[in-house]
Every structure is written in C-alpha cells, then in structure tokens.
Assembly symmetry: C2
Homo-oligomer: 294 residues x 2
C-alpha cells in the first residue's frame, strides 16, 4: 500500500499529537514509520509504554531528520524555538505543518525558519477534549471535525493537497482560509468562549467561602458546561491568548458591550430586548444542529 | 399503598411540570390522581394525548381545587397572577409549592395570597435540558440533582418534610436554604452562565455575514457548549432575569471586572496571571467531578 508520508514525525504527543499517531496507525495510507518527540523524557517513556510510535526521540531535530511530514503538536508558544532547531534537519521536499489554534503567529514564528525546498502548510484541527497528555489521544478525535489549512501565499498546491489527504483519511473535513481570517473566526468560536469559561470559574472561586462551597455543590447545568471547557491545558491556552491577542481583545470588547447592553435591559426591565437575544441564540443553536456541528 | 399527596395539581406541564407528572406515575408513593393545567388549550390537548395526567383542566383554580399539593411549574413571571386565581380554591392543609429559579420573587409574588391553613413551601429543582413543552419531560430528570427548598420563616416543618419526601422519591437530593442566599448561589451557578451564553451567541450573530457563516460552520467545542445552554426558553429566562435582577447584576459586575483583568493580562503578556486563572478553573472542575456534579 502506498502511503502519503513514509516517515511522519510528531513534535509533541499530547491530545492532538497522540491522536494523530493513533489515527495514522488505525487508518492506512498516512504513514509507515511514526516518530514521536516530547519535551520531557518522562512523557517519552510514557509514549513508549503506550506504544503508539515506532521511534521515540527526545531531540526534536533528530526526530525531524529524514521525515516526509513533520507536525508541531506542542503549545504554539514553543514553535519559534522548535522551528529553529528542526529547520536544518528537514529534508528537501518535506512538509512541515502544525496544529496550532492561532495561525498568523504560527506563520510569523515558523515561516522564517523554513528552508528552501521544504513546504510549510499550517493546519488547525478544530477538535479537542478537556484532557491532555500522551494518554488522552484517540484515533477517532478528528472524525467529522473541521481541519482548517492556512497555506501562506505561494505555497505549493500539491503539498497542501497531500496534507489535506492525510487529514481526510483521519476523518476530518478540510477547508482553506487566510490566516488572519482564521484567527478572527477562531477568536469568536473557540478562544473567547474559553476566556469566558476560565473567567467565570475564577469569579465563582472568589465568592465568600460559604457560597463557594455551595457553588460546587449546586452547580446546575449552566455552570457545569462552563467548567468542562475551562478544564483545558493552562500553557496551551495562555499561549493561544498571547498569540491571537488582537482578535481576542476585539471579540471580548464586542462581547463586553453586548453583556453591558443585556445588563441594562435587565436593570430597566426591557424584556423584549432580552427575549430577542434568547431567540437569536436558539436560532444559532438550530443552525448548528442543521450543520451537524452540535 | 399510602401516597404523600392523593391529589397532585401541576400548574404548567412543560419540561419540569411534565417531568414531575411522569415521575409521579413512574415512582409509587407520591400521588394517586394527577391534575394537569396549562395556559393554552393546545398544550392541554397535547398533555391529554401524551397521557401523563389523569385530569386535564384549563382553569387553574379548578385544577387546584381539592388538591393536596399544588405546584406552579410555569415561568416565574406568571406566579403572582396564578396565585391570586388559585388561592381561594386551596383546601385547608394543602401545600402550595413551585419550581421557580428565583426564590425571593416567588415568596414576594405567592406569599401574600396563601390562605391561612395552607402551607407554602417554595422549591427549586436544579435540573433541566434545553428543551421545553409537554413533550420534553421525562421521569428521570431529577435523579441525583439537587432540589433546594426555601420555606419562609414560620413554615410548618411537617409540610416541608412531606414535600422533601416527594422530591426524594423522584430521585432528587434536597437541601434547605434562605431565599436570598439561594438567589445569589443560583445567580452564579446558573443565571450568569445563561446570560453569558445568550450574549456570546448574539455577539457572534452580529459579526459580518461572511464570518457568521463560518462561525456556524466551524463552531469548535467551546462555542458549541455555549449554544446548548443558550437554546433555553426565552420567556422563562427573561422572567428569571427580571426576578433575580440584583444578584444577577452583581454577579455580572464581578464577572466583568474579572474579564477586564483577563483582557489586561492578555494585552500586557501577563502569562502567570492567565495560567493561575486556568489552574483555578481546573481545580473547580476537579471538585465538581469529586462531588459528582459533572
């Protein structure tokens, strides 16, 4: 059987990297040899125990050497340094990609290091759970989820198509987008919701001791849903916020204006305004259900 | 078999009322005869079709007449008017209760109408889904969910215990609380999360057309979770906001301060602050899991 990428190197094997490795094992046609690299020996030992890679390599440059596809799967804040280490080891014709949630920063951080003859195709699989680490991945994570590719202008189209083919084998739906546009869309659909969820958990935690205990005890469905998305990895999310600053701050500013308008409607008893907002929310929900994203 | 309340009247049979009726049918010891009242003949016809009540009665006073337990299960904004209509029909020794999410307003709206010899025991089952209407209820809705009772000072303890016993048969965990304290806890665990969810859906909907389509298309897990809770009933939630105004505005003000502090940390690159907030969120999530509320 022909495979798209005989040697696949994954730099980072947490939820996303570990899921790619498992998917490459589960579904034929993606890779023959899977090389795993992690930041710590401890994680690498765990990867070896779990057995989802053929080669475990602590040095990212050695992991990337001779690979046909290298995917950075660590927090986006590590990409500039990793790209600098890996770049000299990349073979001509190789593809370097990533799975970061912020694409302008990825192009800024990785782009300058990419050697001539190597193709750089950023990607963002929009899939995840609240779990992290080598144990958290699973082959089905990308099934029916979108993976957005943001090849910079001038990227070799054949390289982009080859990477798309790999994501499709993993079950993902693929789309191409300009990096700046991606970052605005990601800010509203993912980054802002996470920011709000982290914030409300802190607000609750700051309440007086007695109330806090009851918040935990009586967490109704509203709060519970927020804590699920608020349980995500701290370093990964701090990096995302730092690397999509402008779009996130803009979306938060828009949201804050809207929240203040809602507060004003509550204060002055403008039920028509409130019901209109809720009805619009219901419509969005219905649209998501129709589009099978919910 | 002895039952707690031979005649049980449910004023409103949407998600909560319909679930109480089904639970009273499914689990013995609660009621013998179930009387359903709805605002419209159309809903009442649907209740009759679904068959979860023994008697369908469009006049709330007639529905309540001779009942041992009357539970108001309509939006909290309807309680004052319903209590005025029902009060003269209540028999001595009957219990009148409700399932509203705001308890000070309920005591304000129902309390003055309660005749001497009738026991008034407000309750709030903290359970729900995003669905509403007679078809949406199910007998298991209250299993392992908290039901908070807020009997005003001087309430007959035996009446409170009897109502608690009914909730326990339905699978709920019960707790008693002062109404004002309940309203603050509900504001942070349920009302504010809903307000934020309604707001973010509106913020997304206001984005330029092209982005809006993509918001729907690429809704990652963060936004999806928000739309689930944002799909709730508009009248019910507008009523809740109106009737727990002070606590909700206070919690929103606290939240807004915290969101601004997060924005400032993002703007100035204070990753320690951001990671601390996320770590606190994870701890809250862990606590919820330990308490089996997640």
């Amino acid at each position: 059987m022909t495979v798209l990428f005989p040697r696949l190197a994954l730099i980072g094997t947490g939820l996303i990297g570990g899921s790619i490795a498992r998917a490459a094992r589960a579904y034929g046609g993606i890779a023959t040899t899977i090389i795993a690299n992690t930041r710590t020996q401890k994680s690498l030992d765990r990867v070896a125990e779990l057995g989802f890679a053929d080669i475990c390599e602590l040095d990212p440059a050695k992991a990337a050497e001779g690979a046909d596809l290298v995917i950075l799967c660590s927090p986006v804040g590590t990409y500039a340094s990793l790209a600098a280490q890996i770049a000299p080891a990349l073979k001509p014709g190789a593809i370097i990609s990533d799975v970061g949630s912020t694409k302008q920063s990825v192009i800024r951080d990785i782009g300058p290091h990419v050697p001539a003859g190597v193709h750089f195709v950023p990607s963002h699989p929009m899939a995840g759970t609240e779990f992290s680490g080598p144990d958290s991945g699973f082959a089905e994570l990308f099934q029916n989820r979108w993976c957005i590719l943001t090849p910079p202008p001038g990227t070799d189209d054949a390289a982009t198509e080859k990477l798309e083919a790999a994501w499709k084998i993993m079950g993902a739906l693929t789309a191409r987008m300009d990096a700046a546009h991606h970052d605005r869309v990601a800010a509203i659909v993912s980054h802002l919701p996470h920011l709000l969820a982290f914030t409300i958990c802190g607000t609750a935690d700051d309440l007086a001791d007695e109330t806090r205990q009851e918040v935990l005890q009586f967490a109704a469905s509203g709060f519970r849903d927020f804590t699920r998305i608020a349980a995500s990895d701290p370093t990964m999310w701090s990096d995302i916020f730092m690397n999509n600053k402008d779009a996130i701050l803009e979306m938060l500013a828009r949201f804050s204006e809207d929240a203040q308008a809602m507060a004003r409607a509550i204060r002055w008893g403008d039920t028509a305004y409130i019901e209109d907002k809720i009805n619009r929310s219901r419509k969005i929900r219905s649209s998501l259900i129709e589009l099978k994203q919910a």
